[in-house]
C-alpha cells in the first residue's frame, strides 16, 4: 500500500475516524474540564460532544464520493455500507439522548466514550471485507458493550448481567475464531471474496460444515438467536437501560448486516435448500431452523414475562427470527437484493422502535428502574404524550400498519416467500412467522392494556419525562410512523438501489 493510499483510507474511513476522535474528546473534556461540575451538566456536555461527533460523521457519509473500494479486500465502502452506518449513527444519537437522564454513574466521560467506541466497532464491522477485520471489529464492539453493561455499580443485577454477557460472549468469540480459522485453512486467504473463490465448486465437505456451524454459532450469539439467546433476557434487564437499547438496536443492525455478508459472500455456493420436505444441507436450512426456534421461543417466552424489559428481550429474540427470514431470502438468486434490503430495513426500523421503547421504560421507571407491568398501570392518564409514544412503539413491534414494523414484516415475508417462486419453497417459514406474529399481539397488548385500560395504583409515582426525553421519543415515534407510511421515498429508494449494486 503506497503512502498516497493512507490519505484515501483516512478519507474513506472518515466517519469512523470522526467518531473515534469524538470518543477521545469526550474523555478529555469530561475528565479535564468538567470534573467538578454537577453531574447533570457533565452529562449534557458529554452528550453534546458525542452528538457533535455523530452528526459530523453523518455529514461526512453524505458527502463522500462513492462507490469506492478502499484497501481492497480489507474494507469496503459502498452505498449500502454507508446507509447502514448512517442508521447506526442515528441510533447512537438517540441512545445518547436517552442517556441524558442516566444518573446511574459518575463516570460520565467513560460512559459516553465507550458508547462511541462501541459505535466505531459497529461501523467498522459493517465495512469489513476480511474475516480478520470482522473479528477485530466484533471484539471492539463486544468489549465496549460488556463494560457498559456493568456500568451501573449500584445495581447488583448490572454486574450479573455483564458477567453473563461476557462469559457467553467470550465463548461465542472463541467459536467464531475457530470457524473463521477453518475457513482460512480451507481457502488460504482471509478476504471474503477470496474465500468464496477458494471454496468454489468444492461443495459442503465435512471441514467446511464444521466451519459453517462454528461461524453460525458465533454470529447466532451476537443476534441472540435461539439456542444462543440465553444471555439476552438477563442482560436486557440488568444493563443500564440506554445500554440495553444500544445492544438491542445498533449492535443488532451491525451484526445482522455482517452475518448476512459472511453468509452470502463467504459461504456462497453452499446455501443448500430449506424447502419443506426437501432439505438440502447448507447454511439456509441451518438458519431456517434457528429462525423457527427463535420465533417460537421468543414469542412464547415473552407471554410469561412480568418485567417489560424482559418482555422486550424475548420479543427481540422473536424479531431476530423474523429478520433471519430476510437473510434466508438473500441466499436465493431471485430475491438476493430484496432479501438484503429487507434485512436492513427491518433491522433499522426495529432499532429505532426498540430504542424508543427502552426510552419510555427508562422514563417511566425513574431512578429505581422499575419496569414491572404494574408500574405502567394508568400511564395514559399520568403521562399522555409518553403513552402515545409507547403505543406507537408497541404497535409497530406487533406489526400494525401504518407503522414501520408492519411494512418491515411484510417486506421480509414477501422476500422469503419469493425466494423459491416456482414451488413456494419457503412459504412454510412465512406461514410460521405470520402465525407467531399473531401470538405476539397478545403480549404487546398486555403492556398497552396496563397503559390505557388499567387504573393507576394508589401509590403510583408521578411520571415526569425530561424535555430531552420527550423530544427524542417524539422524534422516534414520528420516524416509526413515517418510515412505515412512506417507506419508498424515505428509505427504500436508496436502499434498493444500494442493495442492487451489492447483490445484482
Amino acid at each position: 500500500m503506497s503512502s498516497g493510499n493512507y490519505v484515501e483510507l483516512l478519507q474513506q474511513a472518515g466517519p469512523e475516524t470522526l467518531v473515534s476522535v469524538a470518543a477521545l474528546a469526550v474523555l478529555f473534556v469530561d475528565l479535564g474540564v468538567m470534573r467538578s461540575e454537577p453531574a447533570r451538566n457533565r452529562r449534557l456536555i458529554a452528550a453534546a460532544v458525542s452528538a457533535f461527533g455523530c452528526l459530523a460523521a453523518l455529514l461526512w457519509t453524505f458527502n463522500m464520493p462513492l462507490p469506492h473500494a478502499v484497501a481492497p479486500g480489507l474494507l469496503v465502502v459502498d452505498p449500502l455500507t454507508q446507509l447502514v452506518k448512517q442508521v447506526l449513527l442515528v441510533l447512537t444519537l438517540f441512545t445518547a439522548a436517552i442517556s441524558l437522564d442516566a444518573a446511574f454513574t459518575d463516570h460520565v466521560g467513560e460512559y459516553f466514550s465507550l458508547l462511541l467506541l462501541a459505535t466505531v466497532g459497529m461501523m467498522f464491522l459493517v465495512s469489513s471485507d476480511d474475516i480478520l477485520m470482522v473479528f477485530v471489529s466484533l471484539e471492539l464492539t463486544s468489549l465496549s458493550l460488556y463494560i457498559l453493561t456493568a456500568f451501573n455499580k449500584r445495581n447488583p443485577r448490572s454486574a450479573e448481567a455483564a458477567l453473563k454477557y461476557f462469559l457467553f460472549g467470550g465463548m461465542a468469540a472463541a467459536f467464531t475464531l475457530f470457524g473463521l480459522s477453518l475457513l482460512y485453512g480451507l481457502s488460504g486467504t482471509t478476504s471474503l471474496a477470496g474465500i468464496s473463490a477458494g471454496l468454489r465448486g468444492k461443495g459442503l465437505d465435512p471441514l467446511l460444515a464444521v466451519a459453517l456451524v462454528m461461524t453460525v454459532i458465533g454470529f447466532g450469539f451476537k443476534i441472540a438467536a435461539v439456542p444462543f439467546h440465553l444471555w439476552a433476557p438477563d442482560t436486557y434487564q440488568g444493563a443500564p437501560i440506554p445500554v440495553a437499547a444500544l445492544i438491542a438496536s445498533g449492535s443488532k443492525v451491525a451484526s445482522f448486516f455482517i452475518f448476512a455478508k459472511v453468509m452470502m459472500v463467504g459461504f456462497a455456493g453452499v446455501e443448500g435448500s430449506g424447502s419443506w420436505g426437501a432439505l438440502v444441507p447448507g447454511w439456509v436450512p441451518v438458519l431456517a431452523v434457528m429462525a423457527v426456534f427463535s420465533m417460537l421461543l421468543g414469542n412464547l417466552g415473552a407471554i410469561a414475562q412480568s418485567s417489560v424489559r424482559r418482555l422486550l428481550a424475548y420479543s427481540a429474540i422473536a424479531h431476530g427470527g423474523y429478520m433471519l427470514l430476510g437473510l434466508l431470502a438473500a441466499g436465493h438468486a431471485p430475491t438476493r437484493h430484496q432479501g438484503i434490503a429487507a434485512v436492513v430495513y427491518y433491522a433499522a426500523t426495529y432499532g429505532l422502535t426498540t430504542v424508543g421503547a427502552f426510552g419510555v421504560v427508562a422514563a417511566v421507571g425513574g431512578a429505581g428502574e422499575r419496569d414491572g407491568l404494574r408500574d405502567f398501570a394508568g400511564l395514559s392518564r399520568r403521562a399522555p404524550a409518553l403513552s402515545l409514544c409507547l403505543l406507537v412503539f408497541m404497535l409497530s413491534l406487533a406489526g400494525i400498519p401504518p407503522l414501520a414494523g408492519f411494512f418491515g414484516k411484510f417486506y421480509v415475508f414477501t422476500a422469503a416467500a419469493g425466494a423459491q417462486p416456482a414451488h413456494l419453497g419457503l412459504l412454510w417459514l412465512v406461514i410460521f412467522a405470520i402465525a407467531m406474529s399473531a401470538v405476539s399481539l397478545y403480549y404487546y397488548l398486555q403492556v398497552l392494556k396496563q397503559v390505557y385500560v388499567a387504573a393507576a395504583d394508589a401509590d403510583a409515582q408521578p411520571v415526569k419525562a425530561s424535555l430531552s426525553d420527550q423530544i427524542a421519543l417524539s422524534l422516534l415515534a414520528l420516524a416509526v410512523l413515517l418510515l412505515g407510511a412512506l417507506p419508498q421515498p424515505l428509505l427504500l429508494e436508496r436502499l434498493e438501489a444500494a442493495a442492487r449494486l451489492v447483490a445484482p
Binding site: Q338, A341, I400, P401, G418, L424, L427, K449, P487
Partner: protein, 493 residues
C-alpha cells in the same frame, strides 16, 4: 372525492388527540361533525358514481414501487353501498353514545379511527392497502371494548382482537402467496383478478383467505368472538361491530377470496354454504335460550350474518345481490337493536337480565324504547316493508336455485328468529307483572340524540324496504364489472 371519508375520519382522530383541553361536549360535537361529514361525502359519492361503469377509480398514486404497491382507491356498487352503511352507522353510534362521560375525547378518537379504517377497507383496490386498513381497524376495537365496555370487557376485547388478528394472519399468508404466484408484479386488485391462479393453488388459498376474512363475519364455528365481543362492548362499539365490522369480513371474503380464487370457491362452495346455514339455525336457536338481553341480539347477529354468507355461496345474481343487501340491512337493524338494548335500556336500568327487566315493565316506563324495539324486531324478523325482508328473500331465492335443502333450513332460521325476538320483546317490555317497588324510581327519559338516531335508522330501513332499487341499482350492475370476469366464467353467470 370519496377519499375524503377516510381523511375526514383520521383528521378527526388527530384533532381529538391533539386538543387535550377539549371538553366532553366539544369532543362529542367534533365527532358528530366529522362523522356526518363522512356520511355526506359517502352519499354524494354514491350519487356521483352510481352510473358506473364499475369500478370507478377515486385516487391512484404510486406508493411503494419496490413491491408494486399503489395507493389505489376505487369503488363499485358494492363498496358504495357499504360506504353509505358505514357513514350511517357512524353517525347513529355517536348519537347513541352521547352520554359517555369517562375519557370522552379518547373514546371518540378510537371510534373515529375505527370508522376511518373501515372506510379505507371499502375503498381500497390495492390488496396491500386493503389489508393495511383492515388491520388498522383491529386496535381501536380492542380499546373501545376494554376501556368503556362492561361484562368481562377485557376478556371480550382480547378475544376479539386475537380472533381478528388470527384471521388477518390467514389473509396475509394468502396474499403473499398470491403475490408470488402471480409473478411478484404487485397487489393491484384489477390486475390480480385477471390472473388465473393454478387450480391446485386456489384449492388451498381460497379457504385460507375466505375463512380468514369470514372469521370477522361470524362464520360458524369461528363466531364465538361475536356474542362475547358484542356484549362486552359499549353501545356505540357494539353497533359498529355488528353494523360494520362484521360486514368488513364478508366484504373481504367477497372482494378478495371469491374474486381472486373462483375455482377454489367452486370446490368449497357447498361446504361453506353448509357452515353458513348451520350458523343461521344455530345462532337463532342459541338466541332463543339466552338470559341476557344483549346476548339475544349478539347471537341473532351470527344468525343474520349466516344469510350473507349463504347468499355469497349461491353464486347467482339474485343471491349475491341479496347478500350485499343483507349486509346493509343487517347493519342498520342490528345497530338499532343494540342501540335500544345498550343505550336505552341498559344505561338506565343497569341490568340486562331478562328476568330482572321483566318486573320493570319498560313498555310503560320507556314507551319510546318499547316502540323502537318493536319496530326493530319486526324489521329483523323480515316483515315486508323493511329492508330485511327484501334481503333475506333474495338470499333464499338464490339459495333455492343452488341448494334447495339448505334454503329450507335457512327458512327455518327465520321462523326461530320470530320466536326469540317475540320472547325478548315480551319479557323485556310487555311482561304482565304488577309494578314492583323497584320500578318506582322514574327512569331518565329518552334523550333527543337517541330519538334522532333511532328515527334515522328506522327511516333508512323503511326506505330500502319500500324501494330496494335504490341499492339494487348499484349492486346488480357491479357483478358485470371486469373484476368479476373470472367469477362469472366459473359460476356461469
Amino acid at each position: 372525492m370519496l377519499a375524503w371519508t377516510i381523511y375526514l375520519s383520521f383528521f378527526g382522530v388527530a384533532l381529538l388527540m391533539l386538543l387535550p383541553g377539549l371538553s366532553a361536549r366539544g369532543a362529542r360535537v367534533l365527532a358528530l361533525l366529522t362523522a356526518s361529514g363522512g356520511l355526506l361525502v359517502a352519499l354524494a359519492g354514491a350519487v356521483q358514481h352510481s352510473h358506473g361503469p364499475f369500478p370507478v377509480t377515486v385516487a391512484r398514486v404510486p406508493w411503494i414501487q419496490a413491491l408494486g404497491i399503489d395507493y389505489h382507491l376505487a369503488v363499485d356498487g358494492i363498496s358504495l353501498t357499504l360506504l353509505v352503511l358505514n357513514g350511517l352507522a357512524a353517525v347513529a353510534g355517536i348519537l347513541f353514545s352521547w352520554n359517555i362521560e369517562v375519557r370522552t375525547r379518547e373514546f371518540f378518537a378510537f371510534y373515529l379511527a375505527l370508522i376511518g379504517g373501515v372506510y379505507g377497507v371499502f375503498l381500497s383496490f390495492d390488496l396491500f392497502l386493503l389489508f393495511a386498513f383492515y388491520e388498522v381497524a383491529i386496535i381501536p376495537k380492542y380499546f373501545l371494548i376494554a376501556i368503556w365496555g362492561s361484562t368481562r370487557k377485557e376478556y371480550g376485547a382480547m378475544k376479539l382482537a386475537l380472533y381478528s388478528f388470527v384471521g388477518s394472519a390467514m389473509v396475509l399468508v394468502g396474499l403473499i402467496a398470491a403475490y408470488v404466484a402471480a409473478g411478484s408484479h404487485g397487489f393491484d386488485l384489477n390486475q390480480m383478478s385477471q390472473f388465473v391462479f393454478p387450480e391446485s393453488f386456489q384449492f388451498w388459498a381460497f379457504p385460507v383467505v375466505f375463512v380468514g376474512f369470514a372469521i370477522l363475519a361470524g362464520l360458524w364455528p369461528f363466531h364465538t368472538w361475536a356474542p362475547t365481543g358484542h356484549v362486552a362492548a359499549p353501545t356505540a362499539a357494539s353497533m359498529l361491530l355488528a353494523g360494520v365490522v362484521m360486514k368488513l369480513g364478508a366484504y373481504g371474503a367477497l372482494r378478495v377470496a371469491m374474486t381472486l380464487f373462483p375455482a377454489g370457491l367452486r370446490a368449497w362452495q357447498g361446504s361453506i354454504a353448509v357452515l353458513a346455514v348451520i350458523g343461521i339455525v344455530y345462532g337463532a336457536m342459541v338466541a332463543l335460550v339466552q338470559k341476557d338481553f344483549k346476548f339475544v341480539i349478539g347471537y341473532s347477529s351470527v344468525s343474520h350474518m349466516g344469510f350473507v354468507l349463504l347468499g355469497l355461496m349461491t353464486l347467482e345474481v339474485t343471491g349475491l345481490s341479496g347478500a350485499v343487501l343483507q349486509m346493509f340491512s343487517h347493519g342498520i337493524i342490528a345497530g338499532l337493536l343494540f342501540g335500544v338494548v345498550g343505550r336505552m335500556v341498559y344505561d338506565r336500568t343497569h341490568t340486562r337480565e331478562l328476568s330482572e327487566l321483566e318486573p320493570m315493565s319498560l313498555g310503560q316506563a320507556l314507551p319510546f324504547a318499547g316502540v323502537t324495539f318493536v319496530i326493530a324486531a319486526v324489521a329483523s324478523m323480515g316483515l315486508p316493508g323493511f329492508s330485511g325482508f327484501v334481503a333475506e328473500l333474495s338470499v333464499l331465492i338464490g339459495a333455492w336455485k343452488a341448494f334447495p335443502p339448505l334454503a329450507l333450513c335457512g327458512g327455518l332460521g327465520i321462523v326461530v328468529g320470530v320466536a326469540y325476538l317475540l320472547r325478548a320483546l315480551q319479557r323485556a317490555f310487555f311482561a304482565d307483572h304488577p309494578p314492583s317497588p323497584a320500578s318506582a324510581h322514574p327512569l331518565e327519559p329518552i334523550s333527543v340524540p337517541e330519538r334522532i338516531g333511532a328515527m334515522l335508522l328506522i327511516g333508512v330501513s323503511l326506505l330500502i324496504g319500500l324501494y330496494p332499487r335504490l341499492l339494487l341499482d348499484l349492486i346488480v350492475p357491479s357483478w358485470q364489472s371486469p373484476l368479476f370476469a373470472q367469477l362469472r366464467r366459473e359460476a356461469g353467470l
